[in-house]
Symmetry: C2
Subunit: 651 residues, 2 copies
């Protein structure tokens, strides 16, 4: 059985001998890179031998000593946590409940969602961005990381920030309505990957909440990328960008050596960090992994902003955003340096700040290690009190193959995803520090558990705040293989729920996820305060009374003012002429929570919804004569089917 | 507590007195229509009093005597059933596992899905349909009903058919790959609502599988709808369409009185049925519900096809599809009639065939009744052996307020959703027939259970086949209100799982669903046989060897032949010129199940995936000079981040 190594019991920790087989030479790592990944992928590919047959009677019960019923959420009960998850190349953000794994909402961001009308209404098109002819500029996106805003070191329930890697855009989601309200495209950036909000101002200690969002940049390109230096990679470089959390305008950028990946921020606001691969500046993968060590780069926010204020900046192409030079060559004196490049083993993936604010865990990916960097030592390096950046490293335990991302509990432990080993490894920070100092009795690795399969991101409940609760770990796995009923060539991925409250980790649920649950955040439910009904006065174009429904014409421009109130629209019919540019403004006058209406126009490629007391609009050309029954697409009432309005387009 | 009437115990059956309050006059029904819906919607709107707090320790346990652990699917075990669900105005189809409720897949059909590249690749655009300039014709859709193909009265796992109500399109999903392979737009139809495949040929008994798909038509329009008869509703009419299940080309249409809604088909292939509202031909909702009775219309398939063959047809506008006249006025002689209009109480919603092939249950919606029509009696009417169409009715039990859709078990019971009562009512067919005949001891209603809230469709496991198993009922509810953690104004809907295997129905799970779980089908898992890896030879344009990777130019048309094999694309870089029309053909040479790659081009609005051994292509204009790092968007390997190819666009 393909399942034999994935019992519910904790697996036997893999022997250190096996973990040490990895040849640390470049050639060895190429070997691992090219073959071990595939070998691992071969787990469980025998489709005739499914993971496990469900009992004939549907009875599940406890297996391997795990009482699964502890993690159920029966009908009528609420989940304990919210999980906010990036949707990868679906371009969206998702909201789940935990421990149930129920998906409550998709938040369209960079994608078109014809259910809500995202990318269809005038309001959403304005946020997404349009070409001069009014068509959408982009409708693809690749959301990698979701991180909410902070106040006093924990989530404040105000905003979620999320990146688009394809088109280098940063988006913001309002957490009261759970809708995207702003999107900005970062100038001169390709491959915007990691994103993290700051937690405090580096200078003004009274500003204890998020005011900046930091953006890593993975793909180095010619600057500006207008056709120059096309095949001269030595001239390519990347930019680290700071965006204003309120206006979502870029404030400044830093020119950096290497490719940046994830981003972490300090609890005191003084530093931002980004792990780097391809510090070699290669353009082929074997070049990208030729050096023994890459880096975790730290940004001294106060110094960068002082430099920008002092005008020590330049601009690139048509962008007006000030750029400062953060390359190694330009920052040789620690006492004035804007950046500090801490060497870590090759091609690291992931950097995470520990909840006590003391450490950054940077993963190895092509090295079987995690690197622990001490925050105070980095600050001391910037003060000239530490000689080499590498001296900021306080631990580097061997933890397993393909370490990527790390979460933390409230008991001094870290949980790192191991992509190649398909495991989560639990390791103790203090033990790792002791072992690094030479204490041979210190054993950093405490526990490990198989996951199914190839985990990417992993995160603990409240683990990216100063108040982690040490209850759950979610493993967002890249492959599900045989864990679910087969649904054709495109498999779901898995988000596995692990109980970390005890000494041993326990796998307690497999949640199937439409590709791709790239990264997630687990938040206590008391933190989130949503609104269920809009305030009609927030919409300047609201049609506040059915009596205001009308058709107004200015030449060929026609505006239709419309209301919805179950089971009728404010106009039963309205007439326009072929060739008119028609704008329909629709206000939902229903005030009852959950009473959403839809509005579709057959043959005109239009559908959108209006939530209670919300106003939205669409604009289109009436290019087809005839009768078009506009109808409510969101079931609202016993007479929902009868809720229609006739658009008469005169030839 | 808003929850007080929704305990886990079966509620007390509502007294017949309360159920009889409904005044059957038109005025009374208007009253119900306009107010009862909203009153029902007010359930549970107090957001400060959530449904129920989760226990502090996360412990759920059994409540009201239900052992929820019986319905769990622990990690590593597989679900017992597949559920295929239409996605409403999201335009997609979804696959869930039951009893877990885990969502395994979204199948993009009428919507753009930038994860898989649906609406982006040349292949998907061809299926979806394009304008002369190559842009997509539509990217909105409203999928209402999903019904798989049949062989010998049960599912054969070959196709799923699904409608789009907005643009009157029928789509087909292949069940081996779970991908849409064909879409057709029905001519002269607006508001294509119900869809059902046939189960057998009406004439040739050897053809015991689906060869036709029947399509109901809700909105009556001028014919053709080119600007004529704009505001002359008396001239509007609807068409019932038969589509070939293999070619997906329309075979014939029937002109019908009234608005058609759902569709059902007989097990012997002889009849198709559609419930009708607005037989009044009204254009405002009060007109649409003015008559005491509407109808369930039956189509005599053999006679219609004989009439078409005999040339007794006409065409409409530019459509070449033959249309026969199925109006009442043209079909007064039963012995030659193409259609039979069986009167049922006003504005029915839903018609479902019983698994024994004997009956059709037609719901009341604005009447508290279900109407049971006997198949053999309808056939006898067509033979002149039954006087009035209404004589085909064999039962009409009062079952509750707002009855919509009915499922069946294997013990002679029906389960009908009650939209206004927010209940599922279980009633016995034989008892209903006895009561209709005057047996006052017969009690049709056996049980009822509250659902949360306002159910639309409901369906039993395997209940639309000749082999229902009587195990589960799913209630697709339109409102969730306070059943889940709040996520802003747009609530999830609920799919509630009910165990119907015993005498009393038991609510066993609340599954949250992104709007809108419009209709679903529950299929035993042994019926579905999927392929996990494509056959490379099925793609005529496949690039079968990395050595075949190349760039070919014909004037300004450039074709890039590309392969993917973790962790590299077949070309590390390729060069085109500004102004070129570039086609990229990408074959995924990886053969390992679940090893999907993605391909994104920054700033060019392109992303799509290629599953193992699959080939896809995109075409775009290279209108921006510079370096563009095409990258793999579907995590595939430890060196996934390094899996890139540089597109160099020369100025």
């Amino acid at each position: 059985m393909s399942q034999s190594n994935n019992d519910f019991e904790n697996p036997i920790p893999v022997s250190p001998t096996r973990r040490s087989f990895l040849n640390r030479t470049a050639a060895g790592l190429v070997g691992v890179g090219l073959s071990a990944g595939l070998a691992a992928c071969n787990k469980g590919t025998d489709k005739d031998a499914p993971a496990a047959a469900a009992p004939a009677d549907g009875k599940a019960g406890a297996a391997g000593g795990v009482d699964y019923s502890k993690y159920e959420v029966p009908p009528g009960q609420l989940d304990t946590y919210y999980a906010f998850s990036s949707g990868g190349h679906s371009g969206e953000v998702r909201i789940y409940g935990l421990p149930s794994g129920r998906c409550f909402k998709r938040i369209p961001v960079f994608n078109i969602d014809c259910l809500v009308g995202w990318g269809i209404t005038n309001e959403s098109k304005k946020i997404m961005g349009t070409n001069p002819d009014g068509t959408l500029k982009y409708w693809t996106g690749d959301t990698h990381h979701v991180h909410p805003s902070y106040t006093d070191g924990t989530y404040d329930g105000k905003y979620i920030f999320v990146n688009d890697k394809i088109h280098s855009r940063l988006a913001r989601v309002r957490m009261d309505t759970m809708e995207c309200d702003k999107i900005v495209e970062l100038p001169n950036v390709q491959g915007f990957h990691g994103v993290f909000p700051d937690k405090r101002d580096p200078v003004d200690d009274k500003i204890n909440h998020t005011t900046r969002v930091f953006c890593g940049n993975e793909f180095h390109i010619p600057q500006p990328n207008d056709g120059r230096d096309l095949n001269d990679p030595k001239k390519y470089f990347c930019l680290f960008t700071c965006v204003d959390a309120e206006t979502l305008e870029p404030r400044w950028q830093v020119k950096v050596d290497g490719n940046m990946d994830l981003v972490a921020t300090s609890y005191d606001g003084k530093l931002a960090a980004s792990n780097q691969y391809n510090t070699e500046g290669g353009v082929h993968y074997e070049e990208m992994m030729s050096a023994e060590r890459d880096a975790c780069v730290f940004f001294n926010i106060a110094r960068i902003e002082a430099a920008v204020k002092a005008g020590k900046s330049f601009t690139i192409g048509t962008s007006k955003v000030p750029v400062v030079d953060g390359t190694k060559a330009a920052n040789t004196d620690p006492k004035t340096a804007l950046t500090c490049y801490v060497p870590v083993p090759k091609n690291p993936h992931g950097v995470n700040a520990s909840p006590d604010g003391k450490y950054y865990a940077c993963s190895g990916k092509l090295s079987p290690t995690a690197t622990l960097i001490e925050h105070d030592l980095v600050l001391k390096w910037f003060n000239g009190e530490v000689k080499e950046p590498r001296d900021c490293v306080v631990a580097e335990p061997e933890i397993g193959l393909g370490p990527l991302h790390t979460g933390f509990d409230n008991r001094g432990n870290a949980y790192t995803t191991l992509f190649l080993d398909s495991q989560i490894v639990k390791w103790n920070l203090e033990a790792a520090i002791k072992a690094f100092k030479g204490d041979k009795t210190a054993v950093p690795v405490v526990d490990r558990i198989d996951v199914n399969y190839q985990p990417g991101h992993g995160f603990t409940s409240m683990g990216e705040t100063k108040e982690p609760d040490g209850k759950f770990f979610i493993s967002d796995n890249k492959f599900s293989k045989d864990r679910f009923l087969p649904v054709g060539p495109l498999h779901p991925e898995t988000a596995q729920l692990i109980d970390i409250s005890g000494d041993k980790m326990k796998l307690v649920a497999d949640h199937a996820v439409y590709s791709e649950p790239h990264d997630s955040i687990v938040i206590r439910r008391d933190i989130i305060k949503t609104r269920q009904v809009y305030n009609i006065d927030e919409f300047p174009n609201a049609v506040k009374d059915p009596k205001e429904c009308r058709v107004e014409r200015k030449g060929k421009q026609v505006t239709v003012y419309l209301t919805s109130q179950a089971p009728a629209f404010g106009l039963r019919e309205f007439t326009v002429k072929k060739g008119d540019e028609v704008t329909i403004i629709l206000t939902n006058l229903d005030k009852v929570e959950d009473l959403t209406h839809g509005f579709a126009i057959p043959k005109y490629n239009i559908n959108f919804i209006v939530n209670p007391q919300e106003t939205k609009s669409v604009t289109f050309k009436a290019d087809k004569p005839g009768v078009y029954w506009c109808y409510c697409t969101n079931f609202c009432h016993a007479l929902h089917l009868e809720m229609r309005s006739r658009m008469l387009v005169e030839a």
